[in-house]
């Protein structure tokens, strides 16, 4: 075999190997990656968290997922993060739809629910409202609260989704209660229900 043929053959092998081994950037930056990190994954309804987020014991998949979608996250002992990309029915969250997020105040020093566009930055909106927390969500005497997500203003705690396309929700529990810190499955998390038809 001539030298050129050998070089071409090894070039082909390397190109094919790299193409096969390197996950395309789009897949890396999507939530699909998190599904590959089964170790330490916890799901509660549509909410997901990884026990290894931010920690030094994270595997390479968790570490990459966190670096791309939540860089500088705190470890679980300090803060527990839950992400939702779908509603209770399993449909991807869409900015053109209305959702009710209904729950009871969560056992943590403070908590917040923030909406992020698909690029993981805050969603531009004229109201300048990006999140609700244990104070601004104004829980009732029983600790119940409701958020109204959607592109058009609705009564109550309206969290605008603008024209973000797809979006995701991040629930932060800072200094969670002892039970949640020990096992995030102990958290009672809000429901995410689509309301009516989506806007066209």
């Amino acid at each position: 075999m001539g030298t050129v043929k050998i070089i071409l053959r090894w070039f082909g092998i390397c190109a094919a190997g790299v193409a096969l081994g390197v996950v395309p950037a789009r897949v890396l930056s999507s939530g699909a990656l998190s599904l590959n990190t089964d170790r330490g994954q916890v799901s509660i309804g549509p909410w997901r968290t990884s026990l290894a987020t931010g920690g030094t014991d994270a595997d390479m998949y968790t570490r990459t997922y966190v670096a791309l979608t939540g860089l500088l996250a705190l470890n679980r002992g300090e803060t527990t993060y839950f992400v939702a990309t779908h509603d209770d029915a399993g449909r991807p969250l869409q900015a053109r739809c209305d959702y009710d997020v209904i729950g009871k105040t969560i056992d943590a020093r403070w908590w917040s629910v923030t909406a992020y566009a698909d690029d993981n930055f805050l969603i531009p909106n004229a109201a300048g409202t990006f999140s609700f927390n244990n104070k601004s969500a104004r829980p009732d005497a029983d600790g119940r609260f409701a958020l109204a997500l959607g592109p058009r203003q609705r009564p109550g705690n309206w969290l605008p989704t603008g024209d973000a396309g797809g979006f995701n929700l991040l629930l932060r529990l800072y200094n969670p209660g002892a039970d949640i810190a020990r096992d995030p499955r102990a958290a009672m998390l809000p429901q995410i229900k689509q309301v009516g038809e989506c806007w066209s």
Binding site: V18, T56, V66, L74, S136, Y174
Partner: protein
């Protein structure tokens, strides 16, 4: 073993190496970009930079919390130990250290502050002797990498909380000794 079998084996071997290398390298690359941006805003390494409440225009770090104001700093202990200190705000406050691979290897919050102030040194074992005498009594945190990020978080749930947080931001120190 046929030529085709050998070729398939070689492709798979390259694929495994490329796969692992990609996932190991990505957090380092993302952190390098973040450290470059922060150091640029702060005017260099070992210098703090404070931000206002995040908005949709805040694009330095993904998923900023709209309830927090931040002070950041890129630590670099290659030339000597670095002093980190600050006075916690009355609401939630924390200082977290991140290695060059993005791991959060150290965090302290306001509840752990002794005497209303937090102060410690970042230094590796080889440079502990370079800690000046007046700082010898401070705790030393040994980082897994010589460069990384320091992130102070200050809770600001309303205008009163924001004023307190911004006052505390002014006390943040990130300085090479």
């Amino acid at each position: 073993m046929s030529g085709l079998t050998k070729a398939i084996g070689a492709v798979l071997a390259v694929a495994v190496v490329a796969h692992v290398a990609t996932f190991i390298a990505t957090p380092h690359v993302v952190m390098r970009v973040a450290m470059s941006r922060i150091a640029q805003q702060a005017g260099g390494t070992n210098a703090p930079f404070s931000t206002l409440l995040p908005t949709d225009q805040s694009r330095t770090i993904v998923k900023p919390s709209p309830d927090l104001v931040y002070t950041t700093c890129v630590f670099d202990i290659s030339a000597g130990p670095v002093l980190i200190s600050g006075t916690p705000s009355p609401d939630y406050w924390s200082v977290a250290l991140y290695a060059a691979n993005s791991d959060n290897f150290h965090v302290m919050n306001d509840r752990q502050a002794v005497g209303g102030k937090v102060a410690f040194i970042i230094a590796d074992a080889a440079r502990r002797s370079a800690i000046p005498a007046q700082h010898q009594s401070l705790p030393v945190v040994e980082p897994p990498t010589s460069k990384g990020i320091v992130l102070f978080r200050y809770l600001a749930l309303d205008s009163v909380g924001l004023a307190r947080a911004q006052s505390a931001q002014k006390t943040a120190v990130c300085s090479r000794l």
